[in-house]
Amino acid sequence: MVADDRKYTKSHEWVMVEGDVATVGVTEYAASELGDVVFLDLPEPGSEINLGEPVGTIETVKAVEDLYSPVSGEVLEVNQAVIDSPEIVNNDPLEAGWLMKVRLAGRSELDDLLSAAEYETLLGG
């Protein structure tokens, strides 16, 4: 049962939009597949990011995964708490484990994001 207060991507990120600000994180499925996160490299606040680009990395003990941006816009803020304590991403990926807030460059991209139902179908649920 996937939270329906937000939208999703095929690469297992979630996007919650309020006004023109999108909050981005990774899903529970992603966190579980990754395993214990030990390090996050997130984009600089103030930088411009574009949909589909790798904008950071999530590191576990075994491997590095790219974090792909699900939206285009300006990075307003990154979550210092997860930078200091990466395990928050595993413990609470949907709330405390948010990764970045982005001021949207436009809203049209949001239509291409997956709804909760579509993401659930992707997961095979």
Partner: protein
């Protein structure tokens, strides 16, 4: 997850148990092995703080018997096995003529004329073929590759003895097992089975490795889990096995050791006895020692939490001088650490590592990063 794996992967007597208990199976050396259960950090902590169980049945076990076995084996490995007492276990490198490492391994003397070679799963076929070729026509040497009928369970952690002491099959032999010193083993006849219990391990903690026939493995595994409940026993996957061996800087073949790396370069010179009369690779290693070993395995830490992984280029003054062999975020030490094989001349100077296009300065950090607990371990703290 099991459905995604190639169907021809080998299984151990515990594979079904792993799947049933949340083990995430991955292909490893031709086997389907659990990479983790609860999670690498929890499993790593379980071994450092309490006790963990490892299914390492994929390792190779080759028995060597006969009056010619002692001298024959001694001529194939870097460390001294001729003349060791029954029950002794010796860590060795087995080299090519040019001194490159074919595998690192343990050799056990189970009886005056019976030896057990325990090699890495990834090198089993290579070592079995190498030994078979070298035994052809040699009098008094008989090989028996028991890998497919031998299961291996490791019990590792500060309370590993407390747990092992409770095993029902071992109770009649408790005194003998308790008396085992570090790197010794005993062969036990239990009813119709023969077990080998050794005080060895790959974690830096106190522990035992128990070799049993396949048919005894599941009962032993389940008994250990049941008896160890109050001790906080946990099953441990391959991911934590790697972080656990990395902290005391034990070599992992394919990382610190390879056919184009000599044991002198890889920091296991303590296991190389160049004054032995002869062994494959000895002349090449003597020449290397005399000319100055060209590369050295060094330990380094990296600023911040950036993790340098195997293959990352190490530079000195902008020039590549080597590469990372293993690197991770150390769960116990809470820092990014790496082992790197670099030109000896550059090893003492300032170094940087290239992590996905960004350069990070490296701070020399002598290994072991975390001293092995047991006195007598070459990776234990120097007192």
């Amino acid at each position: 997850m099991a459905a995604d794996l190639p169907a021809d992967l080998k299984r151990t007597p515990l594979t079904d148990w792993h799947v049933a208990h949340g083990g995430k199976l991955v292909p490893f050396a031709g086997y389907a092995m659990p990479v983790q259960y609860e999670g690498v950090l929890a499993e790593h902590a379980a071994v450092r703080e309490r006790v963990g169980l490892f299914d390492i049945t994929h390792m190779g076990e080759i028995h060597v018997a006969g009056p010619g076995a002692e001298a024959w084996l001694d001529g194939l490995v870097t460390n001294r096995v001729a003349g060791i007492p029954v029950g002794k276990v010796v860590y060795n490198a087995m080299c090519r003529e040019d001194g490159g490492v074919l595998d690192d391994m343990l050799i056990y003397r189970l009886a005056p004329e019976r030896w057990l070679v325990v090699c890495n799963a990834s090198n089993h076929d290579k070592i079995a073929a190498w030994l078979a070729a070298r035994a052809r026509g040699v009098a008094g040497v008989k090989l028996d590759d028991a890998s497919d009928r031998t299961a291996l369970i490791a019990v590792q952690g500060p309370v590993a003895w407390d747990l092992t002491a409770r095993v029902t099959a071992l109770l009649p032999h408790r005194a003998v097992v308790e008396a085992l010193e570090f790197y010794t083993a005993v062969e036990l006849k239990l009813g119709g089975s023969t077990w080998v219990v050794s005080r060895t391990g790959y974690t830096g903690e106190r522990g035992y490795e128990i070799y049993v026939p396949n048919g005894d493995a599941l009962a032993l595994w389940e008994e250990l889990l049941h008896l160890g409940r109050d001790l906080g026993v946990a099953p441990i996957g391959l991911a934590a096995r790697d972080t656990l061996r990395f902290e005391p800087a034990y070599c992992l073949y394919g990382h610190e050791l390879a056919e184009d790396v000599s044991p002198l370069e890889a920091g296991i010179g303590w296991a190389v006895k160049l004054n032995k009369p002869a062994f494959v690779g000895r002349d090449a290693l003597i020449r290397q020692r005399d000319a100055g070993v060209p590369r050295r395995l060094i330990g380094v830490s990296i600023a911040g939490r950036a993790i340098a992984r195997q293959g990352a280029t190490v530079l000195s003054g902008g020039r590549p001088v080597g590469a990372v062999t293993s690197g991770t975020f150390s769960p116990t030490l809470q820092r990014a650490l790496a082992l790197a094989l670099v030109e000896t001349a550059a090893a003492g100077g300032p170094l940087e590592v290239d992590v996905r296009g960004k350069l990070f300065p490296l701070t020399p950090t002598p290994y072991p990063f975390l001293a092995a607990r047991v006195k007598g371990d070459p990776r234990a703290a120097r007192s």
